[in-house]
């Protein structure tokens, strides 16, 4: 009887894990894809990256203790996977044209302003772009971004502020700040 009990327990635990995983994919796969797309700047690489991220998440799902932090957890896995798998391809990508590689798959808004913003965003250094993408695409809080990027919360806020300032300057180069 004990054997059947442990078999049943195993089946149920696996089913529970499967359901938890399905929920994560259901809720976060779109955001993961958008984040991956900005990281890889290529649609099929982004798809592969999300698949690898989810595979890794599946393997270590038992380590996810706090469900409320699942999004930040997945973003961290994606970031690490990207560094692991694609970092070595980056030099090839830098040589290619910005508007044919960086922006070809990110084409929802085709206005001139959106294009200028995309270019400016693609031109930001990693330290500024990363927190901004995590905030805008992932909807992560400063604290969560800090934990994903392994920096302090105040450093996160500073980077977000500067990143937005740089982008705002592209849209409204002549405008100064409103307040005094």
């Amino acid at each position: 009887m004990q054997d059947s009990g442990s078999y049943q327990g195993l089946v149920l635990r696996e089913k529970q894990k499967q359901l938890e995983y399905e929920r994560l994919v259901l809720v976060y796969s779109d955001e993961l894809f958008r984040y991956a797309l900005w990281r890889c700047r290529d649609k099929s690489m982004a798809e592969d990256l999300v698949q690898e991220t989810c595979m890794r998440a599946w393997k270590s799902l038992d380590k996810l203790r706090d469900v409320s932090s699942s999004k930040a957890w997945l973003m961290t896995i994606l970031r690490n996977e990207h560094a692991r798998i694609y970092a070595r391809y980056r030099p090839d990508m830098v040589d290619m044209e910005l508007d044919t590689v960086s922006l070809k798959d990110i084409n929802n808004d085709t206005s001139a302003e959106a294009f200028a913003l995309k270019q400016a965003l693609a031109g930001l250094t990693e330290e500024y772009r990363e927190p901004l993408l995590l905030q805008v695409i992932g909807g992560l809080s400063c604290e969560e971004i800090a934990s994903v990027c392994n920096i302090t919360k105040s450093a996160t806020m500073t980077r977000l502020f500067r990143a937005k300032q740089k982008l705002r300057d592209v849209l409204r180069p002549d405008e100064g700040p409103v307040g005094g």
């Binding site: 149920l12 359901l19 929920r23 929802n108 806020m157 700040p177 005094g180």
Partner: protein, 232 residues
């Protein structure tokens, strides 16, 4: 708080300002104007960054893991099936599905909870499915759709402690959400109307069938369940 400090905090994290910053904004016309400008900028930024997700992407991500995951599920299926059937045959296993069935919620709440997970997109036709795609999904549930032309979206979704076949169905020119749940069996027909959504859940010979739609839509009656699916 000074205006510069407010600008810094608000610009860095507009959704996280509280306390001092809120108080400052309420009494400062400059910062109120800044907030308006920022809101336009945030929208522009959001639109520029957003990208279309490929059709069926979620499905392919799931499939990837199902095909590649290690451990328990990588045990050959024939061996698993044989072991399971032997245990069932000798009466040792009685998988208690009620353990996962409802998370303590009545079935209408479960269905609503699922819609909340899935978001507004699940109420719309995201892409048109071809017949083969549709039958691949529905056959996983042991059912066939009587009129596949009316279904524009179908996906296997987690609902409560099990799975459901979630579809967007065109009914008299309007889109309604239809969910077949093979493992959830309510004792009786349930109607509900809350949070702007109305619908019903009907027990079937196997599992149950739910229909949901905007409260202002005309949704089909209970006979729709038998008219929509047939068992394989």
């Amino acid at each position: 708080m000074k205006c510069k400090e407010f600008e810094f905090e608000y610009s860095a994290a507009p959704d996280e300002i509280a306390g001092d910053a809120c108080e400052h904004m309420q009494g400062c016309a400059f910062c109120q104007a800044f907030v308006e400008q920022e809101s336009i900028f945030q929208t522009q930024l959001m639109n520029a960054i957003k990208a279309d997700v490929p059709d069926g992407f979620r499905h392919s991500v799931r499939k990837h893991v199902v095909n590649n995951r290690p451990s328990f599920w990588s045990i050959p299926k024939a061996s698993m099936a044989m072991a399971a059937s032997l245990l069932v045959a000798v009466g040792l296993v009685n998988v208690n599905t009620t353990l996962f069935n409802d998370h303590g919620f009545p079935i209408d709440r479960l269905v609503m909870e699922h819609l909340e997970y899935d978001g507004a997109a699940s109420m719309k036709a995201s892409h048109q499915l071809n017949k083969q795609e549709l039958s691949e999904v529905s056959e996983q549930f042991g059912v066939r759709l009587v009129s596949s032309n009316n279904v524009s979206f179908a996906e296997k979704c987690p609902i409560g402690g099990s799975y459901g076949l979630h579809m967007v169905y065109e009914y008299r020119g309007q889109l309604v959400t239809v969910i077949y749940m093979p493992e959830l069996s309510p004792k009786e027909f349930v109607q509900f109307n809350y949070a702007g959504i109305k619908g019903w859940v009907k027990p079937m010979k196997k599992g149950s069938f739910a229909v949901l739609g905007d409260k202002n839509l005309e949704i089909p009656g209970a006979e729709f369940a038998e008219e929509t699916i047939e068992w394989i």
